[in-house]
Symmetry: C2
Subunit: 253 residues, 2 copies
């Protein structure tokens, strides 16, 4: 059974998230149904690098799946897009993967972007893509506080109660905050993230941006390893999975 790897873009708004749920439509389901149509009706399982939550977007999710027979990768991409046309999900690229390639377990890095629209008026063109904060935030203070979180730490304060990861220790390789016009853009990269980690970081940095907390407060919150101390979980709509990295040469897309 040849293994294919896909790079996939999606708008998370209409979905219950990547993963199949008892109720509601998931990105996994629409991709598996499209792949099954291409696989002569036989079921196909799709595995993603990052199991994005409901409403979270992807600019470059990586997915693997096995087909019964070998199909030219360009045909896989185009056929999947044909079957996906009713949904805001697009296969940007497809490639034949080594048989031991695993979208999730082979990945050595994930990057996310969190967008805050920092202006008085609500978004019209970017509805569902940003967190709207009507009061002015201090992006420089947020950037300074972000530096406290970079590195290897116990991130218990920034982890959802629902998090199923075995431990709370993660290494945050990058956490940058920049003002870009009316937006404040947070870019985060790590080998892997805890559940809601980026959104809890965004909710915490917002408190710094509005002047309620300082970088020293964020350091204290981190050290306390207590979720009740950090800021709110920022809305899913502002979050986009922007890239997934693999060891050199392993991922063909």
């Amino acid at each position: 059974m040849p293994r294919y790897v896909l790079r996939v873009e999606y708008d998370g708004a209409p979905f219950v998230g990547w993963q199949r749920q008892a109720e509601g439509l998931s990105v996994q389901q629409v991709i598996e149904e499209a792949a099954s149509a291409l696989n002569r009706g036989r079921p196909v399982e799709a595995v993603a690098a990052g199991r994005t939550d409901a409403g979270v977007h992807a600019a470059a999710q990586v997915v693997h799946l096995d087909l019964d027979r070998e199909v030219e990768p360009g045909t896989v991409r185009d056929a999947l897009n044909f079957h996906l046309r009713a949904h805001p999900v697009s296969v940007l690229a497809a490639g034949l993967a080594p048989p031991d390639f695993h979208a999730r377990f082979s990945a050595i890095g994930r990057a996310y972007r969190y967008r805050i629209l920092d202006r008085r008026s609500p978004p019209a063109l970017d509805r569902g893509r940003v967190w709207h904060i009507p009061r002015p935030l201090d992006a420089r203070a947020m950037a300074e506080a972000a530096r406290v979180l970079v590195g290897r730490h116990d991130f218990s304060s920034f982890r959802a109660a629902s998090c199923q990861a075995s431990g709370p220790v993660r290494t945050l390789d990058r956490l940058e905050v920049q003002r870009v016009g009316e937006e404040i853009v947070i870019e985060a990269a790590a080998r892997s993230f805890l559940h809601h980690q980026v959104r809890t970081i965004a909710g915490t940095l917002r408190r710094v941006g509005e002047g309620s907390w300082t970088a020293a407060d964020v350091a204290r919150i981190l050290a306390a390893a207590d979720r009740r101390l950090a800021g709110e979980t920022a809305p899913a709509a502002g979050l986009t999975l922007t890239s997934v990295t693999y060891p050199d040469g392993l991922c063909p897309v």
Copy 2:
């Protein structure tokens, strides 16, 4: 009756266009209803600088309307946004205008952006915001052909049959084509445009980009003053009104 001027952002997708129609929801209607709520229920007429078609977006439409009593401009902005919250329409700024200010007739310039997504795979995140052209376009050839159209010309070849303007002559001040990543972005500016002018230009430049036509063909099409010779009217979704200009100091937003 104090006159207010608004800078307004909207997603054109759910609307029949700026202007009220017998059927369907217009941007004008939702703004007039919001303004009426602020005007103690008395009807308000809203006049826009550019009467955008169904599906066309605005990053900075300019609108004027009169209220029965004077209200602080920041309150006008916030109250309108409160009443508009069910719709992807946002008032970015409001100001008190001179009584003879007219959003449409006082304007001395309009600028539009047309976005083409030039890649094999369809858009997911930019659905409804771009024209998807799956085959590679030559942006440099498009930019060269665009230069033919700049200046004062009879634009009959680039005018909808439905155009109600008194004459077909317009002065195109700017028409630039640039590749930006996977997109080809067309920026157009003029004192005023004919109906469908930017979209017909985009449809024509696309034919140049795919190699069917040259800049010389575009010059011939322009000179012929015959709509049947130009390219198709590009889809509304790719078009955004990006700015409206007024004589110095006239427009407070």
